[in-house]
């Protein structure tokens, strides 16, 4: 499916079909798809490069152009890749006809898109998404965003020469909603004991369609197939870890450069993620931010506003606390990345809050999602071993002393 997507992008360039670049969080893919655009998500291209161990080549190219060590790895991967002609091990990435900065919560995104606009000479539309500071979206925020969406639609009409077709948008949104419901069904399977899914490492693989192919039949079919597989797993008793010992909530972006190694550090201890925040980065559908064809633009605005990293910290904390309870998790693992302040800043406080306010054992680890130079396997493994050892020890003590619960 991923190969087909990249082949399709290549084909779009050859056929001179329009291509839009967009960010994952709170994206506007349904609107651009209704105008016949193909969508490139440079963040996803970058993480695919990292998984294929190619990201450092592009990062070094960007650093040679003057981008500093502390600049986000996604940004440097993308700018380095563009400078080297856009060829990746999985296909050629076409140049954009339109840049849609669909999430403004991260200042770096805007600067990244401005750099692309300048170097690739492409028009830039900036969708200004207010910060989610209240539990429920504010009416004023929604109105402000819907007004911008109409501006966006008029821009697309002008660029494509096509008239906006509300009926077509509703059809696309209908398919989005169906895929979203199926995706949530998959994620909620983590509530079973033992969990038939790996809600972090596996879900990260499975989030590709919900972010990239949302609004297509392909995404719907994919999640139907996945859910059928999960049902079979439950029936046959096949689980991600043969013997589930620790149920985890995982927060943070994974180290894509060392994905398998990192995953193995968990598996060794029989630790399985039953819920995670990162796979929701494209949308907090499980918290009710679904697309609604009966309120097309309003629901797109609500969805964009509800992007995970657009939530304030009290809301993010409550969400994690809810996951711990609903998914009967024993502990939390946080993986911070030096690249991304909007995801990572505040995670140290989150760790303290989880330990002291909720009594949940919590481990904080740090590396990077794109830059392999920041992944120190021995140090990370040592911390994880010590953490799981201490959980094991406390569980053994609690079992030896009936009536005492594990901290």
């Amino acid at each position: 499916m991923v190969d087909r997507y990249y082949a399709e992008l290549d084909q779009a360039e050859k056929e001179k079909r329009p291509v839009a670049y967009m960010l994952v969080g709170g994206n506007l893919t349904e609107i651009v798809r209704s105008f016949g655009y193909e969508v490139v998500f440079p963040e996803i291209v970058a993480l695919n490069c990292a998984i294929k161990h190619k990201s450092l080549d592009y990062i070094l190219q960007a650093e040679a152009q003057g981008y500093g060590l502390d600049v986000c790895g996604y940004v440097k991967n993308d700018l380095g890749l563009q400078a080297l002609g856009g060829n990746t091990p999985f296909g050629h990435i076409p140049k954009p006809d339109l840049l849609v900065c669909s999430f403004s919560g991260c200042y770096v995104y805007i600067k990244w898109w401005e750099a692309l606009a300048e170097t690739l000479n492409a028009p830039l539309f900036n969708f200004d998404v207010p910060y989610q500071r209240t539990e429920k979206p504010l009416k004023e925020d929604i109105e402000y965003m819907v007004a911008q969406l109409w501006d966006f639609i008029h821009l697309l009409e002008k660029r494509t020469g096509r008239s906006f077709d509300m009926a077509e948008l509703k059809r696309v949104l209908e398919r989005s909603r169906r895929a979203e419901e199926l995706w949530v069904k998959y994620l909620e399977a983590g509530k079973h004991r033992p969990s038939p899914i790996e809600a972090y490492f596996e879900a990260v693989f499975y989030m590709f369609p919900i972010n990239v192919l949302r609004g297509t039949d392909q995404a719907v079919r994919f999640y139907e197939t996945v859910n059928a597989e999960v049902e079979t797993r439950v029936k046959e008793g096949t689980y991600p870890v043969p013997e589930e010992k620790v149920r985890l909530v995982v927060e943070g972006v994974p180290p894509y450069t060392n994905y398998r190694t990192f995953w193995d550090f968990f598996r060794k201890w029989g630790a399985v993620s039953v819920a995670a925040t990162y796979p929701k980065v494209g949308g907090l559908f499980d918290m009710g931010f679904y697309h609604d064809p009966s309120r097309p633009l309003e629901s797109i605005a609500e969805y964009s506003l509800g992007a995970y990293v657009n939530q304030n910290w009290p809301l993010r904390r409550q969400l994690i606390r809810q996951y711990i309870k609903d998914y009967q998790a024993d502990a939390v693992v946080i993986h911070g990345i030096k690249s991304c302040r909007s995801f990572t800043a505040g995670q140290g406080d989150l760790r303290d809050w989880l330990i002291h306010e909720t009594g949940t054992p919590t481990l904080y680890l740090e590396s990077d999602h794109e830059d392999p130079r920041y992944f120190a396997p021995a140090q990370i493994k040592n911390r994880m071993d010590a953490f799981f050892e201490s959980l094991d020890q406390r569980r053994s003590s609690a079992a030896a002393t009936p009536g005492r619960s594990t901290p």
């Binding site: 920041y374 010590a386 953490f387 050892e389 201490s390 406390r394 003590s397």
Partner: protein, 263 residues
Amino acid sequence: MKAAAGIDIGSTTAKCVLLRGKDIIGRSLNPVGVNIVRDAEEALRLALQDARLDRSEVGFVTGTGYGRFKISFGQLTVTEISCHAKGAHFLFPGTRLVIDIGGQDTKAIRVNERGEVADFAMNDKCAAGTGRFLDVCAGALGYDVAEIGPISMEARHPVKVTSTCTVFAESEVTSHVSRGKDPKDILAGLHASIANRTLSLLQRVGIEPEVTFTGGVSRNEGMVRALSARLGLPVNVSPLSQYMGAIGAALAGQERLDGGVAS
């Protein structure tokens, strides 16, 4: 009764402790080179020699420290974090917070009343504030690292050492020397700088008495005093503090022996 051996392979030294029941019957300490398997074997051999014990009398071998996976002749590996907690609790049962400063790592470990790890924090990607930091700075002043603790305690006007990087701290020390500062005052400044850095790590897990100081740097009296002053609390130190990881590993092995696990 068979003995349990705990071998701690750290970044600079290998330590071995032999335990029979609750008694430490032998120990050893030797430098670590590139051949960790050989260093571990040597540590065990020296400890057996110290205890006047035959290898066949050892019922269980536990490895700890960064080199633990190389101890091919052991039956168990445990992280040094759990081992330091266990070892500190064994020697000082009232311990609630362990400060372990070794060659490359500084660890803050909060311990519960059973000697189990409740929380921990470690220095990240940087050896400033560790034993290596003291080694480098002692060298810059022309001292051996073993002498600097007592000398630092003679300071009258400690200087401020602001660097948080081992390499830059060395240049800072050189700069103080060239400005004619007394080496005693520079050394006191260095010890205070490590104490400040350690304090921030300790605050991450929560400071609670009793505090036990372990690892190679705990042999440095100047460091013990600087930490105690910064914490405003007495700090437990044992002549065996450097062996705390190995003691914890031996205890973990002893528990297995008590539970009926044969070698």
